[in-house]
């Protein structure tokens, strides 16, 4: 790690003022769990002049319902989200996604804002400076993407372009499911960005002088079942190889609406629109869920070593709609009334 200035922001305005003061050459420290690894490995072309501590901002840690929305403060800890009764009952996929991040020590300090804004985990992009220098790449704007011809087992199977790194955030997958918005504040004021649109192939849309203040989630209504499941090599701590969040509305056993979002398969949380379309009007059973899995991955274009992710994605989608978690997949089992497994087995 190199030297940098360290500032404590007491308010969102102070944080923005500091970002402006350093002209973007500063980084926000919410939980620090991703930031300090990045600073130690020095893999980015530019090193920040300052780290602005935003843990010192009061009042950004909350979960509250208001005017048909759920509002979550950007500094709310992942452990708080995963244990929230409100979330468990009404936004179970998000509670499970928060719980699926890393281990308890990390979740106790990592925040939802940080989880959404974290940098990608691509092994080329993050290659440490002190073992022969960082690797230039498309994401850094100084070279081609080496993953294309290299070890791309963890890279994108959808919509890759220039950079094939995947969005590593678990909570983004659940938030995209709910059509959540990020409330972002900068020197020009406030704006909202849909979580689904937040990630582009080479960066996220947060300007260097902006800060995420809040996450805004439209109310989930009706008889829905939700799930979040994550496939990782080491369930307790790893980043997802594939994750799936689903939100299914059922009337008399017929699916009237479906939303399915895949994680760790693209630069953004990937909405499986074809599968959703297919499910509408279907009576859910094993065959339908299998077909939904096929629809979900129809557009996948794997790289040389990651075609296996397609099979995993397909399986996770099928299981999210109808099926047993099989013991390996961390899957939401939210409450008596919203557990997808229970509802499905009741109807079949």
């Amino acid at each position: 790690m190199r030297s940098f200035s360290h500032l404590n922001a007491r308010t969102v305005s102070e944080a923005i003022a500091a970002l402006v003061q350093f002209d973007g050459r500063a980084r926000l420290n919410a939980g620090g769990t991703e930031l300090f690894g990045a600073l130690k490995d020095e893999f980015l072309p530019e090193y920040p002049e300052a780290v602005i501590n935003i843990k010192s901002i009061k009042g950004l840690e909350y979960i509250k319902e208001e005017k048909g929305h759920l509002r979550i403060g950007a500094l709310t800890k992942l452990s708080v989200l995963s244990e929230s009764r409100l979330l468990r009952e009404r936004y179970g996929a998000l509670a499970e996604a928060a719980h699926a991040v890393a281990g308890p020590q990390i979740r106790n300090v990592a925040t939802i804002g940080g989880n959404l804004c974290q940098d990608v985990r691509c092994c080329y992009y993050r290659y440490p400076r002190h073992i022969g220098g960082p690797i230039n790449c498309a994401r850094k704007g100084n070279g081609p993407c080496l993953a294309v011809n290299g070890d791309n087992r963890n890279h994108a199977i959808f919509a890759g372009r220039k950079c094939f790194a995947v969005c590593p955030s678990d909570t983004a997958v659940a938030l995209a499911l709910y059509d959540a918005q990020l409330v972002v504040v900068g020197p020009q004021g406030e704006r909202q960005i849909a979580v689904r649109d937040f990630y582009t192939p080479i960066e996220n849309l947060l300007q260097r002088t902006e800060i995420v203040r809040e996450i805004l989630i439209p109310a989930v209504t009706g008889t829905v079942t939700q799930s979040f499941s994550k496939f990782a090599l080491r369930t307790p701590i790893d980043f997802a190889i594939v994750s799936v969040a689903s939100l299914i509305t059922l009337e008399d056993g017929i699916c009237t609406d479906a939303r399915i979002v895949l994680g760790a398969v693209a630069h953004n949380p990937h909405r499986a629109l074809e599968a959703e379309e297919f499910l509408r009007g279907c009576r859910l059973d094993v065959e339908v869920s299998r077909q939904a899995g096929e629809f979900a991955i129809r557009e996948a274009k794997p790289l040389s070593k990651n075609a296996f992710k397609i099979q995993i994605a397909k399986t996770l989608v099928s299981r999210a709609i109808f099926g047993q978690p099989a013991g390996f997949v961390l899957k939401g089992n939210f409450s008596e009334t919203t557990s997808s497994t229970q509802m499905c087995s009741g109807k079949h």
Binding site: G103, H130, G132, L146, N149, G150, K305, A326
Partner: protein
């Protein structure tokens, strides 16, 4: 029944226990030095390059920088086997190879200086695959190694060092076979044991030619011996050992790190410390050797192996220090596991442009068997032979023989492990679970369970030499003077127990010296599995020698014969007459009694570990979950039950069983970068995913040392990987032949994914 002992076989507190749990143990990085400088290494961005020009002027002008060394301003010191690798060379052979060394007043300054050094490289073509490396026209790493084939033989093992197994009559052997299979299998994922403490050293050079080095290695004498070959015998080398934060076989040789500190101290006249980061530890220290085997095996219906011919390729990375030794030991171990009269197994050690392989527990045998057992399995499957019965039949029995590492033939006089194997099978429920080759033991929905078994044993429990002093102070205390460091297993405490048993003294009165090569006698250290038998023998005989000297002094006072005397709790008396006793001090308060003990190599005993595993495979995601493990062994006599349990429970990590499940070093196939040099991307099992581990330990007294023990040593990690491959193959009903069994490989084997490329072997 074994003898009743006061300490042996009983749980006693380790003498470093309080220090470890209270954080007061002084590991190398905790030790304070005055006037200390800190070192950093500038590393090569290229897998193969020549340094054309280095401009270090900017870095030298940075305040706090005290020395910058490059190939141009260091002596021509070379290491390796043979010694062809310069400490700082002009030619760089892997991404991470050393370009320059910097000493500065802080780590941060040293690191900043490294980024200010401008280097111009001439990039050379590189080769990463062993089979490509030996082809004509492949890039060559060394002039001394034509075809990238490293000079065979390990000099310490003598002129007949094992480099092949050639005996019997191959034609006859294959003619006798009822089935012959031929195949290739690799254990080529070069896992990294990654002990928690990274490698490091502190050195202080004193003119004209003395260096004192504080090390974090297993055996300070081995450091001294290794460095003396490199620095030249005119350099006086003192090494001081410290408690080691884990080794797993890697911290027997750390010559580069120690040489870096030495060179920088020589350049600055100040003590210099270098401690690797975890990234350096993974990307630029020691990997397991890569192993690929092509073999033809003849077998009879009763499981008799009639012939083995083939080639074993060992990948050593950019140079070899111990690969020849691993190869020799591996060749010995494969004979212990496989009784066969006709062998023609040839070998090559190949260098490529990646971080080096080196000493790791399982030392050669694990690498060879992980490739060999899957080939044997094909023959067993054709004959419908139960692999457990095969292992039991073919593992060495007393009276049988093998060529060991020095090329000599030895007759085994150790334990028949059949009973331990049977007890292990019973505990595991092997008979109930084994349903035949490629048959799952259970299935439910998309889940398939499968079982596998592996075996490993090693005649290295009596390898190399050990010496010890045991000093008696006549007030009734004892000090063991040994060069051994505590490398994590608790062995230093176990020698105290052995001495306590010999001298019948409370353990609180037995002390153990700091480890060094200055005063303490020679010891090769706790390598292989030699801790209990070899090192223990030296400590025991030193204690017996001291006791004999004590009795010689006491005999005239007590008016008894030396051989009639006993001592208990610091009192000496004639047998049967404890009431007529004298304290040790009666022999004189002004006296040192120094016992000396030595162990010389004995290759006629071996340990043995049989490991049974059960896995569950999700056939729709490819996920492999290790459900339970049973380790079965016979240790002769347990010395310390908790220590033994720890050693057995160590079967998973440090590139053991998990090297078949998810541990692997990932190297970019075109640039040679190690892509997972951190503990998120390098997969280590976490505590919350531990399987059930059950250990079956028998105690069959054996003629070894006084306590009739042989120990268990390093072998817990070794039988597991091939057992996992077997278990997953059985679970999914198709053969796997590559490590680790990633979801990608499992799904490809199930035809659920189109594998884009085929690496490794094919059977």
């Amino acid at each position: 029944m074994n003898e009743p002992y006061r300490y042996i076989g009983k749980a006693t507190q380790r003498n470093d226990a309080v220090g470890i749990v209270t954080g007061t143990v002084q590991y190398l990085n905790d030790v304070k030095f005055k006037n200390l400088l800190y070192a950093k290494v500038l590393r090569s961005p290229h897998p193969h390059a020549l340094i054309k020009n280095i401009d270090k002027s900017k870095a030298e002008n940075l305040k706090g920088v005290k020395a910058i060394l490059t190939w141009e301003n260091v002596p021509d010191w070379k290491g390796g086997t043979p010694g062809v690798t310069r400490i700082l060379g002009r030619r760089l052979r892997f991404v991470g190879d050393v370009v320059a060394l910097i000493a500065a007043t802080s780590e941060e300054i040293a690191k900043e200086a490294s980024s200010l050094i401008d280097v111009e490289y001439e990039i050379l073509p590189a080769v990463f695959d062993e089979e490509e490396a030996v082809k004509p026209g492949a890039p060559q790493l060394y002039d001394e190694f034509p075809g990238n084939i490293v000079t065979p033989g390990f000099p310490i093992f003598g002129p007949k060092c094992l480099t092949a197994i050639a005996m019997g009559d191959m034609d006859k052997g294959f003619a006798e076979a009822e089935v012959i299979v031929e195949g290739t299998c690799g254990y080529a994922n070069i896992p990294n044991p990654i002990p928690p403490e990274p490698p490091g050293a502190v050195a202080l050079w004193e003119e004209p030619s003395r260096v004192t080095i504080w090390v974090s290695n297993q055996a300070p004498h081995v450091d001294r011996m290794t460095l003396s070959e490199i620095f030249g015998h005119e350099v006086e080398i003192f090494t001081h050992g410290h408690p080691v934060g884990g080794s797993f076989g890697t911290k027997i040789i750390t010559w580069q790190v120690q040489a870096f500190a030495t060179l920088l101290s020589r350049a600055t006249g100040r003590p210099v410390k270098i401690i690797y980061t975890k990234e350096e530890h993974i990307a630029a220290f020691v990997l397991r050797p890569s192993s690929k085997m092509h073999a033809r095996v003849g077998m009879k219906k009763d499981g008799t192996v009639t012939a083995v011919s083939g080639k074993w390729l060992v990948g050593t990375g950019h140079y070899s220090m111990t690969s020849q030794a691993q190869l020799a030991v591996g060749l010995g171990e494969v004979q212990i596991m496989t009784r066969c009269a006709n062998w023609d197994l040839q070998t090559d050690i190949i260098c490529t442009n990646r971080n080096a392989s080196g000493s790791v527990r399982g030392f050669g045998g694990q690498e060879l068997k992980c490739a060999f057992i899957p080939i044997l399995s094909r023959a067993m499957a054709q004959l419908n032979l139960d692999p457990f019965e095969f292992i039991k039949k073919n593992y060495i029995k007393p009276g049988e023989g093998y060529f060991w590492r020095d090329g000599n033939w030895y007759i085994y006089r150790g334990i028949d492990y059949s009973e331990a194997m049977d007890k292990g099978a019973e505990r595991f429920g092997w008979k109930e679970k084994w349903r035949g080759w490629l048959q799952p033991s259970a299935q439910k929905g998309s889940l398939r369970s499968g079982v596998g078994v592996g075996v490993h044993g090693n005649a290295d429990i009596g390898e190399d030499t050990s010496e010890a002093y045991v000093r008696l102070s006549t007030e009734g205390t004892v000090t063991l003077i040994t060069s051994l460091t505590e490398h994590g297993t608790g062995q230093r405490s176990n020698y105290v127990k052995m001495i306590g048993e010999v001298l019948q003294l409370p353990l609180e009165r037995i002390f153990i010296s700091a480890s060094d090569s200055v005063i303490a006698p020679f010891d090769f250290g706790p390598v292989g599995s030699r801790g209990t038998y070899a090192i223990g023998s030296a400590a025991i005989s030193a204690a017996e020698d001291a006791k004999r000297q004590l009795f010689q002094l006491a005999a005239p006072i007590l008016g008894a014969n030396v051989e009639d005397l006993e001592t208990v709790d610091g009192l000496i008396f004639a047998k049967g007459k404890p009431e007529q006793c004298i304290p040790w001090i009666a022999t004189g308060h002004d006296r040192t009694i120094m016992g000396y003990g030595r162990f010389d190599p004995d290759y006629t005993l071996a340990n043995c570990m049989t490991t049974f595993v059960e896995v569950e495979v999700d056939t729709e995601t490819g996920k492999v979950t290790l459900q339970n493990v049973v380790n079965a062994t016979d240790v002769g006599q347990i010395i310390d039950p908790p220590g033994l349990e720890g050693q057995l429970n160590g079967c998973l990590g440090s590139s053991g069983i998990d090297s078949a499940i998810f541990e692997e070093t990932i190297i970019d196939p075109t640039t040679g970068h190690i892509l997972n040099a951190n503990l998120i991307d390098y997969k280590w099992r976490t505590f919350s995913e531990l399987p059930e581990i059950d250990n079956v330990v028998l105690e069959t007294p054996i003629s070894s040392h006084r306590f009739r023990a042989i120990g268990v040593g390093e072998v817990a990690t070794s039988p597991g990987p091939s057992a996992i491959l077997m278990a997953v193959s059985n679970a999914i009903g198709t053969w796997l032949h590559e490590y680790p069994v990633t979801p990608e490989r499992v799904l490809a084997a199930l035809n659920k994914v189109k594998s884009q490329e085929h690496a490794g072997g094919a059977l």
